[in-house]
Symmetry: C2
Subunit: 357 residues, 2 copies
């Protein structure tokens, strides 16, 4: 290392990364919660190891292929937090994972549980299930009151139900960040009670997202699963969960044009991702120029409105852009350039890049 990397490329500031990991580990410890960070954010073995060595009990993953990447690297306690539909093609892979790891899988319908039980066959006693609860995002999951009846049906198929989980995704909005944490608390308490009413103890009550992590006060909660906190991103900055100085993941970009009086960077949507929430101020943020705004993004261009009070950087200048959504930016890259004090010191592979099946 030491060579200036070509742009656009993703930089991980390892000091900030470690600070973010330590802060969330402390928050979990103080609240006496298990921390099971979502590995879909970083897809990186080195970062997962830092999380586990700071006290994470295991990892959350989104897909079977992500589970395989982390299992192959020795991570043995994995929660596949997704209502997997076990097609025949997934059967051998799920059985193999079940034999090699402590595998927990999400479920929100008896149809999915039935397909999973069939594909797991003799390995079904190796897997534990968490019933997914919709706490207000209205994506997947059952309403809290129906958790118990579904859990009973799932258990009847020979699959052990360990508890419930939710993702309060509506925390990703300034308007509902706080209420999402409250919604989560109510939904999980109701769901755990519904399980108990059907004779199943919710040993695991799992919630959490980065925006709601500091606020969730569900008394029944046993575990949290934030993902983005390791890096932070422009969305988290604008939601107020992190300051610009704490963001550990940036895309290094080069000024390639001054057309129209703007600053045009080579960090387009093929490097930053195209995520843009309705409330976001632009298509990513320049961490060292907080008043600059990326007002147009195409595949290889980020067009920046430059603030009048800030000298316009010459062509060839390199600037750091925080993507709006770290998870999707990471999935576009094959590796991170690891920096300490601004200097490249290592490279880490995005080991599960593209492992989205």
């Amino acid at each position: 290392m030491g060579v200036t990397p070509l742009t656009p490329c993703l930089l991980v500031d390892v000091d900030r990364l470690e600070a973010n990991i330590a802060a969330m580990a402390e928050l979990a410890r103080n609240r006496e919660l298990a921390l099971r960070p979502h590995a879909k954010t970083h897809k990186c073995l080195e970062i997962a190891r830092l999380q586990v060595s700071s006290g994470a009990v295991g990892l959350t993953v989104a897909t079977v292929s992500e589970a395989e990447v982390f299992a192959a690297a020795g991570f043995e306690d994995l929660f596949l937090g997704y209502p997997v539909y076990a097609s025949r093609g997934l059967g051998p892979r799920l059985r193999d994972l079940a034999e090699r790891t402590m595998l927990t899988i999400g479920v929100d319908s008896v149809e999915s549980a039935r397909a999973l039980a069939a594909q797991l066959a003799g390995s079904r006693d190796r897997v534990r299930m968490l019933v997914e609860v919709d706490s207000g995002q209205h994506r997947t999951g059952v309403v809290p009151q129906k958790t118990g009846p579904l859990a009973a049906e799932v258990a009847h198929l020979g699959l052990a139900v360990d508890g419930v989980f939710t993702f309060p995704g509506h925390s990703y909005s300034p308007a509902t960040r706080r209420t999402a944490a409250d919604d989560e608390a109510v939904a999980l308490a109701t769901a755990a009670a519904s399980l108990r009413a059907h004779g199943i103890e919710a040993r695991v009550v799992s919630g959490g997202s980065t925006p709601s992590a500091g606020w969730s006060e569900a008394e029944t909660l046993t575990e949290m699963r934030p993902g983005v906190y390791v890096f932070g991103d422009a969305q988290q900055w604008e939601l107020g969960t992190i300051g610009a100085a704490g963001i550990a993941l940036t895309c290094l970009a080069t000024v390639v044009s001054h057309a129209g009086g703007n600053v045009v960077l080579d960090s387009g949507s093929k490097a930053l991702g195209a995520d843009r929430a309705a409330w976001a101020s632009g298509h990513g943020r320049l961490v060292d120029h907080p008043d600059a705004r990326i007002h147009q993004l195409s595949e290889h261009h980020a067009v920046v409105t430059w603030p009048d009070h800030d000298p316009r950087p010459p062509l060839g200048t390199r600037l750091r852009v925080a993507p709006n959504h770290a998870c999707n930016a990471v999935n576009l890259a094959d590796r991170f350039v690891v920096v300490r004090n601004g200097l490249p010191v290592d490279e880490w592979a995005v080991a599960a890049r593209g492992a989205n099946v």
Copy 2:
């Protein structure tokens, strides 16, 4: 092949692909224009070969690393349609490309031309330049009247100026699709005249995008560079450049949940890309269910409002989703499953996946 692929994965319907390639080749022939399709859309050697064998004069690429992938596969006439800023790290790679191919590079500032001339050093006579014109997208490029003065400065640096190019990117909107084609015609004619006034003949006058391809009537035009036409996508469908039946690229997805009465697919933004124009009706379109709407998209979930008149597909059903923007979906995949009559017959690598530097 013949095995049902796991989902989400990208399918290329090769009959539709060939029909789309043939139709654009015929349009270019009828208008006596050179066709130089943009390879950033597919990043695929097999597809580029089909384009060239149907009459394309060469390829357009977006980055140095895309140029390298196609050059290594024997494509020798490449236009790097981007205002490349030649950092020191790019120098050896640009010189190598210049020696191995007929390389043309875009430029919109004398500063970039100066950096390029310095890095190309003794290879600068191997490269030709096209001056980028802003025809209304307001991304990169100079105003048409300034093309001549810039071309003269570029030529003074020992770089041969072959003509002008533009991308009328504002054609990607129902409101300005037609006027963008008109803007392109006026801008290119003005730019070519500006070059001539400075003693430089615009041998190449290059424009075009998929939405404007059928409308552009620039008399001075010599070349068109559409990209998305090979596949079509949900944006092109909604812009009216292609019908659902003509779309050659889809993401095969599985129904994983019926939560909330919706149909939830496993094709999230890590498979489809997160592009969503303000005028798009959703986050991609189901080609066989035109009244369905993807109203929520996260990394591994597409939540679909299902039409009342259409029976709701059971869990495990596989459906085909046209991404909003083909180019960004392709950049997420390592390979295409090639289908003919709905059956997998081959796999093609996305050879330049991630080659975005």
